[in-house]
């Protein structure tokens, strides 16, 4: 207790030197807090836009679909999705359940024909956003709420023979809202069937690959084209992403209890790209933390070494007055810790202020890898990162004080007292 007070006073002795050390630590903490908040925001936005725009939180298929469905998609359809849809909607965490029927098809304007991935969807169950004028400044905002209609109107169940096209796909066949299209595909029975559709709107998501290939049409129309009443997947959107594992458990239990031949995937299973990006950022963040730990170690080491050298006589005096060697060790460790703690506290203040400022103003960012939309970064303040930054400062400060403190505690008293 008294040792700590003495340590703090000793730190305040060389104001300039301590200030520089504290600033070095504080800037390190600020960098950690800001970058941590930046990554978290980026990952959050990527995740939420993937979930709302494409994968949902959970997808349910007929057992075997994921493994073998690619070769024979029509062998793994959910024939009677009504009952299970109803059961899932009753779960409290579930916001919506949308049925989908995806198939590959040929899309033609008469002049040009290309292949595409068609998705029959339930328009009122799939999160979709229409871009408004005020959204244009903050393009990431609508993305968090679903796929974005950038021209025309969203799909409507009441207009069966319409479709919305991904931005890239529409570009490839020069389609705009109102363009007539022909969609050709196999029926589930193996025959060829075709439909006349009108382009209702153009959409984009956070994934360029998705926007380059996907056409969406009302589920009923798709079923009519394929001559089936089945769907291939149920896409579940939850109120909160954190509840995904819990809902997964509930659903698996439901399948087992009812003997339903279904399987499910979470958004994490489906968005490999997000998971890899998260791991990459995690690694980058660790490197940053390491670099900052090294800066803290070096600056504290230097400061403490100088302190020990300057205060040799003082150390000798304290030992002569009965302070034991470990008392001296402890005193200098405390001084290091005090510097670390002050740096950490200043860093938390500075980091929070910077991050909060950036959050309020927003930093315009170019599209992340694999995406097309510019976005606005709003770094978040993450309590665990604040705590981490503080602990990092104190712990590394103590570690780097260890050697100077040890040397101080090993001084020969008589020599230290003769020292001038």
């Amino acid at each position: 207790m008294t040792t700590f007070r003495l340590a703090v006073r000793n730190c305040l002795r060389h104001r300039t030197r301590s200030c520089i050390t504290i600033c070095a630590i504080a800037f390190g903490c600020t960098a950690i807090i800001f970058v941590g908040g930046f990554f978290e925001d980026l990952l959050y936005k990527m995740r939420e836009s993937y979930i709302k725009g494409q994968t949902g939180h959970l997808q349910i298929y007929r057992q075997g679909f994921f493994e073998k469905g690619r070769a024979a998609p029509f062998d793994y359809l959910i024939e009677d999705p009504g009952q299970i849809t109803q059961l899932i909607r009753e779960l409290p965490d579930v916001a919506s359940v949308a049925r989908r029927l995806s198939f590959s098809a040929l899309l033609s304007t008469g002049d040009t024909t290309i292949s595409c991935l068609a998705q029959g969807i339930e328009p009122d169950q799939e999160p979709t956003v229409v871009l408004t004028e005020s959204d244009r400044g903050r393009r990431d905002r609508p993305l968090l709420d679903g796929s974005v209609i950038e021209a025309g109107a969203p799909l409507q169940a009441t207009a069966p023979f319409t479709a919305v096209l991904g931005r890239g796909l529409a570009g490839a066949i020069a389609a705009t809202p109102g363009t007539p299209l022909i969609l050709v595909s196999h029926t589930t029975g193996g025959a060829i069937n075709a439909l006349d559709l009108t382009v209702q709107g153009i959409f984009f998501t956070s994934s360029k690959v998705f926007d380059d290939h996907v056409l969406r049409l009302p589920l009923g129309t798709a079923q009519q084209l394929l001559q089936t009443s089945a769907v291939d997947s149920l896409v579940i959107v939850l109120h909160r992403t954190e509840t995904t594992p819990r809902v997964k458990e509930q659903l698996l239990r439901l399948f087992q209890d009812r003997g339903l031949p279904l399987e499910l995937k979470t958004w994490e299973d489906l968005s490999d790209f997000y998971v890899k990006t998260r791991d990459l950022f995690g690694r980058m963040f660790s490197v940053l933390k390491l670099v900052i730990a090294i800066i803290v170690v070096l600056s504290i080491y230097n400061t403490m070494n100088m302190a020990v050298l300057e205060r040799t006589t003082e150390i000798g005096t304290m030992m002569a007055l009965g302070v034991k060697r470990r008392g001296i060790l402890w005193l200098f460790l405390c001084e290091g810790a005090a510097l670390g703690a002050m740096g950490g506290l200043v860093g938390i203040g500075l980091g929070t202020a910077t991050t909060l400022g950036a959050h309020l103003i927003g930093i315009p960012m170019p599209p992340p890898p694999g995406a097309t939309m510019e976005w606005m970064s709003q770094p978040m303040i993450i309590p665990s990162v604040l705590i981490f930054a503080f602990c990092l400062s104190v712990v590394t400060a103590m570690l780097s004080s260890w050697h100077p403190a040890y040397r101080a505690s090993r001084l020969e008293i008589a020599e230290a007292l003769r020292h001038v």
Binding site: T317, A320, L321, L417
Partner: protein, 229 residues
């Protein structure tokens, strides 16, 4: 007077340093006995071994041979931590350049040696105030060493040396950094405290002017005790 028990017993002590490969003898067989309440001066020219002798008595250094018995405890066998306890309990130190801790106030400096004692903080404070009062500096309790004159600093240091009520106070050239008059006052203060508290005091000096205040005088020359020149 002859029945006074001895506080300090030095028996055939030598101290040898190595400078490079050649040995240097700082003390070459010193024996000395100091009784409780004595006020003893060690005189001698520079390099005669005064500091070394006081360091051995203070448990700051260990003799190369011989024995140092302080308050019945043989110091030469003790480990560092035990010696630290002996110093904290039985020994007070006054240094040539005062050696106050600059971040502490006068009162806190006096209190410092008590931190290793098991005392309540009020008790520590009271004892420190009492010691500071004895050297006449209670009014300067809140001053930092930087804000005190040399004489005042040494008085604070003396208060710090007596605050634990030690068996012996060791003062290595306590007046060497002070002018004549102040030095004499400091030594007079030590003498008064020695009388009032009965604290044994051993100090070293090569200043003949203050030697007259000593109750007993030991001359050291080239590491041995000699008869007065």
């Amino acid at each position: 007077m002859t029945t006074r028990e001895s506080v300090l017993e030095i028996v055939q002590v030598t101290k040898q340093y190595r400078v490079g490969s050649s040995p240097v003898f700082a003390l070459r067989g010193v024996s000395l006995s100091v009784s409780r309440g004595e006020f003893l001066a060690i005189a001698g020219p520079s390099g005669s071994g005064k500091t070394t002798l006081l360091n051995l008595v203070g448990g700051i250094e260990q003799p190369s041979s011989g024995a140092v018995r302080l308050n019945g405890v043989e110091l030469q066998h003790l480990s560092g931590d035990v010696l630290a306890d002996v110093r904290a309990r039985h020994t007070g130190f006054v240094f040539q350049s005062f050696n106050l801790l600059p971040v502490l106030t006068a009162l806190e400096n006096v209190e410092f040696p008590l931190l290793t004692h098991r005392l309540s903080s009020e008790q520590r404070r009271r004892q420190a105030q009492e010691a500071l009062d004895r050297v006449g500096l209670l009014s300067h309790a809140a001053h930092k060493p930087m804000e005190l004159s040399g004489g005042q600093r040494q008085r604070v240091a003396i208060a710090r040396a007596i605050v634990t009520r030690p068996a012996i106070v060791l003062a290595d050239e306590p007046t060497a950094n002070l002018d004549q008059a102040t030095g004499a006052q400091i030594l007079q203060l030590m003498r008064n405290l020695n009388r009032a508290l009965g604290t044994t005091c051993v100090f070293s000096t090569h200043d003949h002017n203050i030697l007259r205040l000593a109750e007993r005088l030991v001359h050291l020359s080239d590491g041995v005790i000699v008869d007065a020149p």
